[in-house]
Every structure is written in C-alpha cells, then in structure tokens.
C-alpha cells in the first residue's frame, strides 16, 4: 500500500509533460467508448440506490392517512414533521447522546494509541516491534462476532455489564489493527531526511512523533477517525449484547426498539431512520473528499 501511495504521488506531477495531446485524445476516446454500457449500468444502479432512499424520506413526511391513501412513491400532499416530533419525544436525544459518547470515546483513544504504535513500528527496529506488527495484521482476520461470548463474560466479570464503557472497550480493541495498518503506511511515506533533520536539531523521538509525524499524517488520521467513527456509530451487536437498560441505548439499537414500539406507524419508524442517519450525512458532506480519497488509498492494491 505504501508503494502505491508513493507511485501515486510521483505520477501526479509527471502526468502533464508525459502525455502528448494526441495521447490524451486517444485516452478520451477510450473513456467515451466505455461510456455506453458503463453509463447505462451506472444510471440503473443509481436508481437502485436512490429509489429506496427517496421512499424512506418522503414516507417519513407523510401522515398515516397519506401513507395508507396515496401512491407510495408520490410526494406527500400535506408534508408533516409530526413523525419527527413523535420520535424526538421518544427520547431520541438521549440515544443520540449515547451514540456520540460511545463513538468519541472509542475513536479518540483508538486513533491516539494506534498512532503511537504505528510510529514505533515504522521508526523502530527489532524483533519485538516486528512481532507486534505481525500480531495486529493477524487481528485483521478475527471476526468480532466470533469473540462476543467471551467478551460478554469478561465484561460481566469486570463489573462493566450494562455500561457505556462496556461498548467502548471492545470497539477500541477491534479498531486497532486496521488503524495501525493505515497509519503506519502513511508514516512510512514521510521522507527519512525529515526525521534526520529533526534528530540533528536535538529532538527526541517523542517530540518527533508529535511535531513531525502527527501533522504530516493528518489526512490519514482524519480518514481512520471517520471510518472507525462510522463503524462504531452503526455498531449493533456490542450494544445489543453488552447493555440492557433503555437509557443506555445507542441509535441502531433504539431504531430496532422503535420498530417494535411504532410497528403500526411506518412513517414514524422511517423518520427515526432518517434522524439517525442525518448526523453521519452531515459529516460525510463535510469530510467527503478526505474520506473517499483516504479509503481509496487505504484499500486499493
């Protein structure tokens, strides 16, 4: 992956002089030719994605008469926010706050300790660090689901059952491998001369880590933070198994219980779906470029 990133960076500035006008034109025709079947498929897939999303949003704005009376895909004749009001009154704000706490409380420690570990793995030598790195790589293949029973047992024994901390601890553990991997690949791309000059200036490794590696790794940090955040925010199994009290519900779990409570009021259930997705949507809109380019670099090749 690191080599990919390097070649990517090299390729960008080389591009303009390397390609003649003719070559670019021929490239253009290549793209255009792929266009016809590709474009058709692209638009069909767009419909597959958008129609359900559209249905969810418009239905959440309908009254129950509107829901039962109209064509399901017709926009609401009398749009109403009463479903949203109903959901908000059903303690939505508290569930939302639980999700925020769990997410921040998992993502911040994960990124911090993973960054330190990644820095040590890239900058250090020796058998111990190789072993730690190997272990994290192996961790990528452990399915969280398969370890839920011993985790449940441990959480009970630690007297943490039915607490927010119970969700956070395993979330952190299972986010570490991928986070270390992505961050170490980025740190590896920092030119060695920069580390050398920091050293010559008399900086310790500790200072080098915070003053040099951290700022230079910021794009990767934002990426892993958003990626892990998305995972924790949408996590369902850990809260389901490790908590019990209604007041500790996180959003995905709350959605599931709303579904039971409002089973006859589909518009209200869908309003809760929309509400639970809105915060993520806002973050996505703000950090989209960062997220997509980071994920692309993190996963391809």
């Amino acid at each position: 992956m690191s080599t990919v990133l390097k070649s990517d960076r090299k390729a960008a500035p080389d591009n303009p002089p390397a390609h003649s006008v003719k070559a670019r034109q021929s490239l253009g025709t290549r793209v255009k030719r792929l266009n016809i079947p590709g474009g058709l498929g692209g638009w069909i897939w767009l419909a597959v994605i958008i129609v359900p999303v559209y249905y969810i949003v418009i239905t959440s704005l309908k009254t129950s008469e509107g829901y039962f009376g109209q064509n399901p895909l017709a926009p609401p004749t009398a749009p109403t926010l009463e479903n949203y009001q109903l959901v908000l009154e059903a303690n939505f704000a508290a569930y939302f706050m639980n999700s925020v706490i769990v997410t921040l409380g998992s993502v911040i420690p994960t990124v911090l300790i993973s960054f330190m570990a990644a820095f040590a793995i890239v900058r250090g030598h020796g058998r111990y660090l190789k072993f730690v790195n190997g272990m994290f790589l192996m961790g990528l293949a452990i399915p969280l689901q398969a370890t839920i029973i011993p985790i449940y047992l441990m959480i009970i024994r630690l007297n943490l059952y039915d607490s927010i901390l119970a969700i956070m601890l395993p979330s952190i553990a299972f986010a570490i491998p991928l986070t270390v991997l992505i961050l170490s690949n980025f740190i590896r791309d920092v030119p060695n001369e920069l580390f050398e000059s920091m050293r010559l200036d008399g900086c310790s490794e500790w200072q080098t880590m915070w003053r040099l590696a951290l700022p230079l790794t910021r794009p990767a940090i934002v990426t892993v933070a958003i990626y892990n955040g998305l995972h924790v925010w949408n996590g369902f199994l850990l809260p389901l198994v490790l908590t019990q009290s209604p007041e500790l519900r996180v959003l995905p779990l709350a959605l599931w219980t709303f579904q039971g409570e409002f089973s006859v009021n589909i518009p209200a259930v869908l309003a809760s779906v929309v509400l639970s997705t809105l915060p993520i949507l806002v973050i996505y809109v703000l950090g989209r470029r960062q997220l997509v380019s980071g994920l692309t670099a993190g996963f391809s090749k």
């Binding site: 249905y55 300790i113 730690v132 293949a141 399915p143 969280l144 370890t147």
Partner: protein, 309 residues
C-alpha cells in the same frame, strides 16, 4: 506513561548512538494499543475455544462439558443448515457484487464530472447502519404500501419475508445494496492507479475497448480484486446485524446463518457452550478463507486487507 517515555527517549538519545536509542524508547509506545488488543481481542479468541468445552448458561457458574458441546453441535442438522446458508450467501453475494462493483468502479474512475457526482450518491447506503437498512427494507417491501405498488409492479408485491427462497434472495439483494458502494470505491481507486501509458500502448497496437478491458484493466486489478474479494468473503461471515433485524433467521431457519445461529443459541437459548463451538467454526472458516485468498494473491502484503468488516 507519557512522561516516562519522554524521559527514556531523552536519556537514551543523549547517551548513545542511533540504533540503541530507538531500540529502548520506541517499543513502549506500542504498549497501550497492545494492551487493548490483547485483552479485548486475543484473550476472547482463546476464551471462545475454552468456552466451547464448557457448560454455561450465560448467568450461572461455568462447568466443564468435555467434548459434549462439540458432539451435540456436530451432530445437529441445524449446524449444516447454517453452514450451507453461510456459504450460499457468501458465494452468491460474491458473484453478484463483484461484477457490479468492478464495472461501476471502472465507470466512476472516468474523468467526467457527472460520474463523480454519481459516485457521491453511490456512497449513501454506506452511511446507513445495517439496522436502519433492514428496517427501511421491511417498510419498502410491504405488499400494499411499499415500493411494488409505487412502481406499479404488482408482481413485486410478494410476501418477501414469509417465503424461504424469497427471503434468502432478498437478504442477498439487500447485502449487495449496502456493500456494492464500498467495493465500487475500492475498484475506483484501483483503476485510477493503472498507468495510463498501458492504454496508450494498447491503443497504438489497435486494441479495442473490450480487449483493453480484458487485457489491461482486469489483470492490473488483480490485487484489487483479491482485496475486495477477501473483504467481501470474510465480511460475509459477519452480516449479523442486517439479517438479525431483517428476518431474524426466518422464515423457519431459512436465513439462519452461522453468526446468527451462534447468537440465538448463546443469548436466546442460553447455551453458551454450543454457541462457542459455532464461534470457533466461524473463526476457523474466516482464517482459512483469508489465507486461501492470500495464496491467490501470492503476496503477504495483502495481509493488510483481511479486515472482517
């Protein structure tokens, strides 16, 4: 922790040359991450193996069960049903998702503006939690007030969640709906990294679009395909949330995959021992699949991409 590390780093760099300095200071930085990982991921991994030989109802004392759990699970037709369904969903999902996301990835890697705009919209399903997706699809599938009537396609107005074959097909469709966008993104990145000069050379040699796709794009995407497939296949062992909320394993046991089977045995039937046996089987299958796909790649660099998602 932090201050002691500073001291160490400072002391060592003052007193000695490069190598020893790094050797003594840096390993400490891995300790917090290592601690969390060992306690909440490695210990449970060992624990699940131990519990598979234990007799535990999830609340009371834990006793020894010897080979009993293994014997009872391995002779239970329910296990083979769950195994079969898990592999069925895995294989069909791979067959459905790979071509779609590969083609969409090639398509969105193009330079036109509208493709970039489409790619933004493709991402939407990834933002929804599996619980939200499952709940939304339940409403969408309502035979009277769902999508089918809206689109005027009465043949779509089925009791999707009530008929075993339909429910299984539906699960596979909803999984694709949710995860194709992610794999499209991976392929988009992969396609963008293919050197343009390859296409130019092919063009000069007179290769057409289709030839270029099969002779350049596909071979160049080999590692991307392996990465994406690994994520898809290993990830398919863990489609728990979606199926749990959408069908709960039903109708009957027609969508009761391994992860769900484990949950229901453990946390519903209070049979933690047998549930742990299923968990061990899940781990073994996951690791075996990951290793197998590694071999295909022939590179341990791909060890990086084994995340279970």
């Amino acid at each position: 922790m932090s201050s002691s590390t500073t001291h160490r780093a400072a002391n060592v760099s003052r007193s000695s040359e490069r190598r020893p300095a790094q050797k003594s200071a840096l390993p400490w930085l891995t300790l917090p991450a290592l601690f969390f990982f060992l306690v909440f991921a490695v210990v449970p991994l060992v624990g699940v193996l131990v519990l598979s030989f234990a007799d535990w109802d999830g609340i009371g004392a834990i006793g020894a069960a010897g080979m009993e759990n293994w014997a009872s699970v391995l002779t239970d037709p329910g296990l083979y049903n769950a195994l079969g369904l898990t592999f069925m969903i895995m294989i069909v999902s791979w067959l459905v998702q790979t071509p779609i996301s590969l083609l969409l990835g090639v398509f969105t890697a193009g330079s036109q503006r509208y493709r970039a705009a489409l790619a933004v919209l493709y991402f939407l399903p990834l933002l929804l939690s599996s619980a939200a997706v499952a709940i939304a699809y339940k409403a969408l599938l309502d035979p009277n007030f769902g999508l089918a009537m809206g689109l005027g396609l009465p043949f779509l107005a089925q009791d999707w969640l009530g008929v075993p074959q339909l429910a299984l097909g539906l699960v596979i469709f909803v999984i694709a709906w949710q995860f194709v966008p992610f794999h499209t993104l991976i392929y988009q990145g992969g396609v963008r990294q293919i050197p343009k000069s390859l296409y130019e050379a092919a063009q000069i040699d007179g290769a057409g679009t289709i030839k270029q796709f099969f002779h350049i794009t596909l071979p160049q995407l080999k590692y991307t395909i392996i990465t994406s497939s690994t994520l898809m296949v290993v990830g398919s062992l863990t489609y728990f949330d979606l199926i749990f909320v959408l069908t709960g394993g039903g109708p009957g046991n027609s969508t009761r995959i391994l992860a769900l089977d484990m949950y229901l045995r453990g946390f519903r039937a209070n049979l933690m021992g047998p549930a742990s046996v299923i968990a061990v089987i899940l781990v073994v299958i996951g690791l075996a699949l990951a290793l197998f796909l590694q071999r295909l790649g022939g590179k341990d660099k791909q060890g990086s991409q084994l995340e279970g998602l």
